[in-house]
């Protein structure tokens, strides 16, 4: 089997499980939607300040919700004792990482397909643009790259529900800034060139953390 088909096999396994029990996507989307709804109550929204605060609320909601989903990424493997089986498989560890990261990427991406349209409705902003797709893709790649590594690390920690966000959120802050700022440019109707620096930052973040995490992941599973 080639590397890509191994990654796809692991990602597909997680996706198949997800299609059967719908644990993660429902939890992530539900959590993010609640954050959005609560903020529409917490603030007096009008057309001007929706543009100002909307992007921040959207990405904070997705980041917090993403953590709850990432917590499940390895929990199922540990509960079912299938992590050992995965480790025994004659494939290199970086492919296991990339497969799990692919699964997490798909979950968060599917949740966003639900969340972003609702965001557009609640905040009355136009988000169905190519810029939004690029921002969402770059952010989700970074989230799942860092999140998969940290989820694998914190799965055996007591109070892992607390540990994962404490690790994950500060590390992804630059990516979160990039997502919020470029979304803000987008809802203000500015062009690609104005958000270019932020998108470049997101690309750099994604490349750095996909490569480093894949390389370093082997150390999380050794016994």
């Amino acid at each position: 089997m080639g590397s890509l088909s191994i990654i796809w096999a692991i990602g597909r396994k997680d996706l198949l499980l997800e299609i059967r029990n719908k644990d993660v996507v429902v939890a992530v989307a539900g959590f993010a939607l609640l954050v959005l709804v609560i903020f529409t109550f917490a603030m007096d929204l009008n057309q001007d300040n929706a543009k100002l605060v909307g992007p921040g609320i959207l990405w904070a909601g997705i980041a917090f919700a993403g953590v709850t989903g990432l917590n499940r990424a390895f929990a199922l493997e540990v509960e079912g004792d299938t992590l050992e089986a995965l480790m025994l498989a004659p494939i290199s560890r970086d492919l296991i990482y990339l497969g799990k990261a692919l699964g997490n990427f798909l979950f968060i991406a599917i949740a966003q397909i639900i969340v972003i349209p609702v965001f557009a409705v609640l905040f009355n902003l136009i988000v169905f643009r190519w810029e939004m797709l690029a921002i969402a893709l770059l952010t989700t790649i970074g989230f799942s790259a860092v999140g998969t590594l940290f989820a694998a690390m914190s799965v055996r920690v007591r109070a892992r529900e607390v540990m994962l966000p404490l690790l994950f959120l500060p590390v992804v802050t630059p990516l979160l800034m990039a997502a919020v700022e470029s979304t803000s440019h987008m809802v203000h109707g500015r062009s690609w060139s104005e958000m270019a620096q932020w998108l470049q930052l997101a690309v750099a973040f994604d490349i750095a953390f996909v490569v480093v995490s894949a390389f370093i992941f082997q150390h999380t599973l050794e016994d």
Binding site: M163, L167, T173, W198, I216
Partner: protein, 237 residues
Amino acid sequence: MNKILDLLDPLLILSATFMGVALYLIFIWVPTETNQGAVQRILYFHVPVAWGSMLGIFVVSGSSFMYLLKKNEKWDRLAVASAEVGLIFGGIMLLSGMIWARPVWAVWWTGEAKLTTALILFFIYVAYLMFRAYFPPGAQRQRLAAIIGVIGAIDTPIIYFAANLWSQAHPPLITGPAADSDSALGSDLGTVLLISTLAFSFVFIFMVQARYKIRKSEDDVVELKRSSSASAMTGVN
């Protein structure tokens, strides 16, 4: 005997001497800065502890990397010792900075790039130490903690770049009395800063090596317990 605190420890004497000289220079010798007033003296503490916390982060990431490479316990002990000391220095840096900023910039906190970076790094190293506290002891904990140390190091330039870009888009609000005037102290300021930085560097090294020794003793105790319980078991058999 490997004592934790030895009053004749040359490092302790060195740090105490330098600290005494630094305190004299800061509070008695150096003239009060005319624009900012007495509050400017915070700078002589703020800059050295900021340097100390940077040194801490540097040592944590360096020794974490070495641990992943060599799997030698001593790198792990060095990492955890300098993480703890670095975090204390970082906390003092954030607090002293805020106390200084309130009268001088008229705000406690602002979105300036260095401030944002320092705060996020502070949180990463809080997470590093919390992770160590939560994880069951053993080689795996040290390996995973080392990964956090390395990830933090890789993230640092990205955080700084992002914070810089961010503060360009949202210019920090600084309005206080000395917002746009430089210090009029010149070379006096440099002298005091240098001595104070040296003093705090010695304190940093002293604290890290003391913590390193405690860490070593902790490991020795665990090792002794294991070997004594093992010999007790063989005694029963």
